[in-house]
Protein backbone atom coordinates (compact mmCIF):
# COMPACT_ATOMS: atom_id res chain seq x y z
CA UNK A 1 0.00 0.00 0.00
CA UNK A 2 2.82 2.32 0.89
CA UNK A 3 4.46 1.75 -2.48
CA UNK A 4 1.18 2.34 -4.20
CA UNK A 5 0.65 5.66 -2.42
CA UNK A 6 4.18 6.73 -3.31
CA UNK A 7 3.61 5.74 -6.90
CA UNK A 8 0.36 7.70 -7.02
CA UNK A 9 2.07 10.76 -5.49
CA UNK A 10 4.80 10.58 -8.09
CA UNK A 11 2.25 10.29 -10.88
CA UNK A 12 0.35 13.30 -9.51
CA UNK A 13 3.54 15.33 -9.35
CA UNK A 14 4.45 14.37 -12.91
CA UNK A 15 0.96 15.34 -14.04
CA UNK A 16 1.19 18.70 -12.29
CA UNK A 17 4.53 19.73 -13.79
CA UNK A 18 3.22 20.46 -17.33
CA UNK A 19 0.28 22.45 -15.91
CA UNK A 20 2.73 24.46 -13.76
CA UNK A 21 4.64 25.45 -16.90
CA UNK A 22 1.47 27.12 -18.31
CA UNK A 23 1.87 29.74 -15.62
CA UNK A 24 5.09 30.86 -17.36
CA UNK A 25 5.02 33.72 -19.85
CA UNK A 26 3.83 32.63 -23.23
CA UNK A 27 3.48 34.74 -26.32
CA UNK A 28 0.51 33.88 -28.50
CA UNK A 29 0.66 35.00 -32.12
CA UNK A 30 -2.61 35.51 -33.98
CA UNK A 31 -3.44 36.23 -37.60
CA UNK A 32 0.07 36.75 -38.94
CA UNK A 33 -0.03 37.91 -42.56
CA UNK A 34 2.04 39.82 -45.07
CA UNK A 35 0.77 42.49 -47.45
CA UNK A 36 1.87 41.34 -50.90
CA UNK A 37 4.12 44.12 -52.17
CA UNK A 38 4.33 45.27 -55.80
CA UNK A 39 7.07 43.39 -57.71
CA UNK A 40 9.65 46.21 -57.54
CA UNK A 41 9.23 46.86 -53.82
CA UNK A 42 12.15 46.04 -51.54
CA UNK A 43 10.07 46.24 -48.39
CA UNK A 44 6.91 44.57 -47.16
CA UNK A 45 4.68 44.95 -44.12
CA UNK A 46 3.85 42.06 -41.81
CA UNK A 47 0.88 42.25 -39.45
CA UNK A 48 -0.07 40.18 -36.42
CA UNK A 49 -1.39 40.35 -32.87
CA UNK A 50 0.97 39.42 -30.02
CA UNK A 51 -0.71 38.45 -26.74
CA UNK A 52 0.96 37.70 -23.44
CA UNK A 53 -0.80 34.94 -21.52
CA UNK A 54 1.54 35.18 -18.54
CA UNK A 55 1.82 37.63 -15.69
CA UNK A 56 5.17 39.27 -16.50
CA UNK A 57 5.98 41.71 -19.27
CA UNK A 58 7.66 40.07 -22.26
CA UNK A 59 10.36 41.97 -24.09
CA UNK A 60 11.31 41.09 -27.64
CA UNK A 61 15.05 40.62 -28.05
CA UNK A 62 15.21 40.06 -31.77
CA UNK A 63 13.20 39.29 -34.87
CA UNK A 64 14.46 37.87 -38.15
CA UNK A 65 13.20 36.31 -41.33
CA UNK A 66 14.65 34.27 -44.16
CA UNK A 67 12.67 36.44 -46.55
CA UNK A 68 14.55 39.68 -45.84
CA UNK A 69 17.92 41.15 -44.81
CA UNK A 70 16.44 42.99 -41.85
CA UNK A 71 13.22 42.97 -39.86
CA UNK A 72 12.08 45.90 -37.74
CA UNK A 73 9.06 46.80 -35.64
CA UNK A 74 7.53 50.14 -36.63
CA UNK A 75 4.98 52.38 -35.01
CA UNK A 76 2.78 54.79 -36.96
CA UNK A 77 1.37 57.99 -35.54
CA UNK A 78 -0.25 61.07 -36.98
CA UNK A 79 1.68 64.20 -36.00
CA UNK A 80 -0.57 66.94 -37.36
CA UNK A 81 -0.95 66.09 -41.05
CA UNK A 82 2.15 63.95 -41.19
CA UNK A 83 2.08 60.19 -40.89
CA UNK A 84 5.13 59.50 -38.78
CA UNK A 85 6.75 56.11 -38.94
CA UNK A 86 9.41 55.27 -36.38
CA UNK A 87 11.31 52.13 -35.46
CA UNK A 88 10.14 50.76 -32.12
CA UNK A 89 13.35 50.55 -30.13
CA UNK A 90 11.70 48.51 -27.43
CA UNK A 91 8.90 46.02 -28.03
CA UNK A 92 7.08 45.09 -24.83
CA UNK A 93 4.04 42.91 -24.56
CA UNK A 94 2.22 43.39 -21.28
CA UNK A 95 -0.04 40.73 -19.76
CA UNK A 96 -3.63 41.12 -21.01
CA UNK A 97 -2.67 43.98 -23.35
CA UNK A 98 -2.22 42.53 -26.84
CA UNK A 99 0.19 44.39 -29.10
CA UNK A 100 -1.48 44.80 -32.48
CA UNK A 101 0.31 45.26 -35.77
CA UNK A 102 -2.37 46.05 -38.34
CA UNK A 103 -2.88 47.90 -41.64
CA UNK A 104 -2.73 51.64 -41.11
CA UNK A 105 -1.03 51.28 -37.75
CA UNK A 106 2.00 49.55 -36.29
CA UNK A 107 3.63 47.06 -38.61
CA UNK A 108 6.61 44.79 -38.82
CA UNK A 109 8.79 45.72 -41.73
CA UNK A 110 10.71 43.33 -43.91
CA UNK A 111 13.59 45.37 -45.32
CA UNK A 112 15.63 44.14 -48.26
CA UNK A 113 13.40 41.40 -49.63
CA UNK A 114 15.37 38.38 -50.80
CA UNK A 115 12.64 37.08 -53.06
CA UNK A 116 9.46 38.25 -54.78
CA UNK A 117 6.49 37.51 -52.57
CA UNK A 118 3.40 36.05 -54.22
CA UNK A 119 -0.07 35.61 -52.78
CA UNK A 120 -0.28 32.30 -50.99
CA UNK A 121 3.45 32.20 -50.12
CA UNK A 122 4.39 31.66 -46.51
CA UNK A 123 6.96 33.94 -44.86
CA UNK A 124 8.79 32.55 -41.84
CA UNK A 125 9.75 34.83 -38.98
CA UNK A 126 11.49 34.07 -35.73
CA UNK A 127 10.99 36.14 -32.59
CA UNK A 128 13.28 35.71 -29.57
CA UNK A 129 12.18 37.09 -26.24
CA UNK A 130 14.08 38.07 -23.10
CA UNK A 131 13.02 34.94 -21.24
CA UNK A 132 14.91 32.79 -23.72
CA UNK A 133 11.86 31.63 -25.67
CA UNK A 134 11.91 31.32 -29.45
CA UNK A 135 8.73 31.69 -31.51
CA UNK A 136 8.63 30.47 -35.09
CA UNK A 137 5.87 32.20 -36.99
CA UNK A 138 4.47 31.61 -40.44
CA UNK A 139 2.73 34.55 -42.07
CA UNK A 140 0.73 34.04 -45.26
CA UNK A 141 1.10 36.55 -48.08
CA UNK A 142 -2.17 38.22 -49.07
CA UNK A 143 -2.92 40.16 -52.22
CA UNK A 144 -4.90 43.05 -50.75
CA UNK A 145 -6.05 44.21 -54.18
CA UNK A 146 -8.53 41.36 -54.05
CA UNK A 147 -9.82 42.39 -50.63
CA UNK A 148 -12.08 45.20 -49.41
CA UNK A 149 -14.15 45.44 -52.55
CA UNK A 150 -17.50 46.95 -51.62
CA UNK A 151 -18.93 46.05 -54.97
CA UNK A 152 -17.80 45.73 -58.55
CA UNK A 153 -18.40 48.80 -60.68
CA UNK A 154 -17.26 47.23 -63.91
CA UNK A 155 -17.94 48.98 -67.14
Amino acid sequence: MNHFVRFLSLLTLLWLIPSMSYADNRLVVDDAWVRMPPPVAETAAVYMTLSNTGDKVIKVDSVKSDAADKVEFHSMEMHGDMMHMAEMKEVLIKPNQPLVFDAGGNHIMLIGLKQTLQAGDSVKLQIKTDDGAIYNIEADVRDMRKHNHDHHGHH
Binding site: A41, M82, G104
Partner: protein, 185 residues
Protein backbone atom coordinates in the same frame (compact mmCIF):
# COMPACT_ATOMS: atom_id res chain seq x y z
CA UNK B 1 5.50 113.35 -73.49
CA UNK B 2 8.07 112.34 -70.90
CA UNK B 3 5.46 112.58 -68.12
CA UNK B 4 3.09 110.35 -70.07
CA UNK B 5 5.78 107.77 -70.66
CA UNK B 6 6.81 107.83 -67.01
CA UNK B 7 3.21 107.47 -65.99
CA UNK B 8 2.76 104.50 -68.34
CA UNK B 9 5.91 102.86 -67.00
CA UNK B 10 4.67 103.43 -63.48
CA UNK B 11 1.33 101.77 -64.30
CA UNK B 12 3.08 98.81 -65.83
CA UNK B 13 5.25 98.49 -62.74
CA UNK B 14 2.13 98.33 -60.58
CA UNK B 15 0.80 95.49 -62.70
CA UNK B 16 4.03 93.50 -62.48
CA UNK B 17 3.22 91.74 -59.16
CA UNK B 18 -0.08 90.51 -60.67
CA UNK B 19 1.80 89.01 -63.59
CA UNK B 20 4.08 87.29 -61.07
CA UNK B 21 1.06 85.73 -59.33
CA UNK B 22 -0.52 84.16 -62.39
CA UNK B 23 2.90 83.12 -63.62
CA UNK B 24 3.51 81.15 -60.41
CA UNK B 25 0.22 79.19 -60.71
CA UNK B 26 0.90 78.51 -64.36
CA UNK B 27 4.41 77.40 -63.50
CA UNK B 28 3.19 74.56 -61.29
CA UNK B 29 0.89 73.38 -64.08
CA UNK B 30 3.80 73.62 -66.55
CA UNK B 31 6.36 71.70 -64.51
CA UNK B 32 7.53 68.49 -66.19
CA UNK B 33 6.44 65.24 -64.63
CA UNK B 34 8.70 62.52 -65.97
CA UNK B 35 7.46 59.00 -66.50
CA UNK B 36 8.89 55.86 -68.06
CA UNK B 37 8.78 56.63 -71.77
CA UNK B 38 6.64 59.75 -71.38
CA UNK B 39 6.74 63.30 -70.18
CA UNK B 40 3.64 65.04 -68.92
CA UNK B 41 2.54 67.99 -66.79
CA UNK B 42 -0.63 69.08 -65.07
CA UNK B 43 -1.64 71.39 -67.91
CA UNK B 44 -1.30 68.56 -70.43
CA UNK B 45 -4.25 66.88 -68.67
CA UNK B 46 -6.52 69.28 -70.48
CA UNK B 47 -10.07 69.45 -69.04
CA UNK B 48 -9.36 66.43 -66.85
CA UNK B 49 -9.57 66.03 -63.11
CA UNK B 50 -6.29 64.74 -61.68
CA UNK B 51 -6.45 62.27 -58.77
CA UNK B 52 -3.07 63.00 -57.24
CA UNK B 53 -1.06 61.20 -54.56
CA UNK B 54 2.55 61.35 -53.36
CA UNK B 55 4.68 58.55 -51.94
CA UNK B 56 7.57 56.21 -52.63
CA UNK B 57 8.02 52.57 -53.60
CA UNK B 58 9.85 51.60 -50.38
CA UNK B 59 6.75 52.57 -48.41
CA UNK B 60 5.33 49.43 -46.76
CA UNK B 61 1.86 50.45 -45.66
CA UNK B 62 0.53 53.98 -46.38
CA UNK B 63 1.36 54.19 -50.11
CA UNK B 64 0.05 50.71 -51.01
CA UNK B 65 -3.15 51.52 -49.09
CA UNK B 66 -3.55 54.87 -50.85
CA UNK B 67 -2.98 53.39 -54.30
CA UNK B 68 -5.29 50.50 -53.56
CA UNK B 69 -8.00 53.03 -52.69
CA UNK B 70 -7.25 54.96 -55.91
CA UNK B 71 -7.56 51.74 -57.92
CA UNK B 72 -10.83 50.80 -56.24
CA UNK B 73 -12.16 54.31 -56.80
CA UNK B 74 -11.47 54.04 -60.54
CA UNK B 75 -13.35 50.74 -60.60
CA UNK B 76 -16.36 52.41 -58.99
CA UNK B 77 -16.56 55.18 -61.61
CA UNK B 78 -18.46 54.76 -64.87
CA UNK B 79 -16.58 54.55 -68.20
CA UNK B 80 -17.62 58.14 -68.93
CA UNK B 81 -16.38 59.37 -65.55
CA UNK B 82 -13.06 57.50 -65.76
CA UNK B 83 -12.34 59.18 -69.11
CA UNK B 84 -12.32 62.53 -67.33
CA UNK B 85 -9.94 61.47 -64.53
CA UNK B 86 -6.14 61.06 -64.64
CA UNK B 87 -4.69 59.24 -61.63
CA UNK B 88 -1.10 60.31 -60.93
CA UNK B 89 1.36 59.07 -58.29
CA UNK B 90 4.38 61.29 -57.69
CA UNK B 91 7.50 59.94 -56.07
CA UNK B 92 9.06 61.66 -53.07
CA UNK B 93 12.13 59.44 -53.44
CA UNK B 94 13.69 60.15 -56.85
CA UNK B 95 17.07 58.89 -55.51
CA UNK B 96 15.82 55.32 -55.37
CA UNK B 97 12.67 55.31 -57.50
CA UNK B 98 13.70 55.01 -61.12
CA UNK B 99 11.05 55.85 -63.72
CA UNK B 100 10.98 52.20 -64.72
CA UNK B 101 10.37 50.93 -61.18
CA UNK B 102 7.73 53.62 -60.68
CA UNK B 103 5.90 52.39 -63.77
CA UNK B 104 5.97 48.79 -62.53
CA UNK B 105 4.92 49.86 -59.04
CA UNK B 106 1.82 51.78 -60.10
CA UNK B 107 0.88 49.22 -62.73
CA UNK B 108 0.54 46.66 -59.95
CA UNK B 109 -2.40 48.69 -58.61
CA UNK B 110 -4.10 49.88 -61.80
CA UNK B 111 -3.15 50.13 -65.48
CA UNK B 112 -4.38 53.73 -65.71
CA UNK B 113 -2.11 55.00 -62.93
CA UNK B 114 0.78 57.22 -64.03
CA UNK B 115 3.93 57.01 -61.90
CA UNK B 116 6.06 60.14 -62.26
CA UNK B 117 8.98 62.07 -60.90
CA UNK B 118 8.96 65.88 -60.70
CA UNK B 119 11.57 67.74 -62.75
CA UNK B 120 14.22 68.12 -60.02
CA UNK B 121 14.79 71.83 -60.73
CA UNK B 122 11.27 72.58 -59.58
CA UNK B 123 10.39 69.80 -57.15
CA UNK B 124 10.58 71.92 -53.96
CA UNK B 125 8.33 74.54 -55.56
CA UNK B 126 5.88 71.92 -56.81
CA UNK B 127 5.67 70.17 -53.44
CA UNK B 128 5.17 73.47 -51.64
CA UNK B 129 2.16 74.24 -53.84
CA UNK B 130 0.54 71.02 -52.60
CA UNK B 131 1.76 71.55 -49.02
CA UNK B 132 3.57 68.23 -49.17
CA UNK B 133 6.17 67.69 -46.48
CA UNK B 134 8.54 64.79 -46.52
CA UNK B 135 11.79 63.91 -44.84
CA UNK B 136 14.11 60.91 -44.55
CA UNK B 137 14.27 59.22 -41.18
CA UNK B 138 17.98 58.34 -41.43
CA UNK B 139 21.03 58.41 -43.68
CA UNK B 140 21.17 54.61 -43.99
CA UNK B 141 20.66 53.13 -47.43
CA UNK B 142 17.37 51.66 -46.16
CA UNK B 143 15.99 55.05 -45.11
CA UNK B 144 12.26 55.52 -44.77
CA UNK B 145 10.43 58.70 -45.66
CA UNK B 146 7.87 60.30 -43.41
CA UNK B 147 5.43 62.29 -45.50
CA UNK B 148 2.03 63.90 -45.62
CA UNK B 149 -0.39 61.47 -47.20
CA UNK B 150 -3.27 63.38 -48.72
CA UNK B 151 -5.15 62.54 -51.89
CA UNK B 152 -5.81 65.59 -54.08
CA UNK B 153 -8.29 66.42 -56.82
CA UNK B 154 -6.58 68.94 -59.07
CA UNK B 155 -7.69 70.75 -62.22
CA UNK B 156 -5.54 71.29 -65.32
CA UNK B 157 -4.42 74.66 -63.96
CA UNK B 158 -2.97 73.05 -60.79
CA UNK B 159 -5.77 74.34 -58.63
CA UNK B 160 -6.53 72.02 -55.71
CA UNK B 161 -10.28 71.47 -55.88
CA UNK B 162 -10.45 68.86 -53.09
CA UNK B 163 -8.16 67.23 -50.55
CA UNK B 164 -8.73 63.97 -48.63
CA UNK B 165 -6.90 61.80 -46.12
CA UNK B 166 -5.34 58.62 -47.54
CA UNK B 167 -7.69 56.43 -45.52
CA UNK B 168 -10.80 57.89 -47.20
CA UNK B 169 -12.89 55.02 -48.51
CA UNK B 170 -13.06 54.55 -52.30
CA UNK B 171 -16.83 55.17 -52.34
CA UNK B 172 -16.29 58.60 -50.76
CA UNK B 173 -13.44 59.44 -53.14
CA UNK B 174 -15.66 58.46 -56.09
CA UNK B 175 -18.46 60.69 -54.74
CA UNK B 176 -16.06 63.62 -54.43
CA UNK B 177 -14.90 63.09 -58.02
CA UNK B 178 -18.48 62.93 -59.34
CA UNK B 179 -19.34 66.12 -57.49
CA UNK B 180 -16.41 67.99 -59.04
CA UNK B 181 -17.13 66.60 -62.51
CA UNK B 182 -20.72 67.86 -62.21
CA UNK B 183 -19.50 71.31 -61.18
CA UNK B 184 -17.28 71.52 -64.25
CA UNK B 185 -20.19 70.94 -66.62
Amino acid sequence: MKTKLSFLAFCLLLLLPLYGCTNQDTNVANISLLGSGFNTSINKQKDKLILLSFGYTHCPDVCPTTLMHVAQTLELLSAEEVEKVTPIFITLDPERDSLNSLAKYVNYFHPDLLGVSIDSKYSAYFLKHFQVESFKDSNDKDYLINHTSFLYLVDDKAKIVDMMGHQTKPASIADAIRKKLKEKR
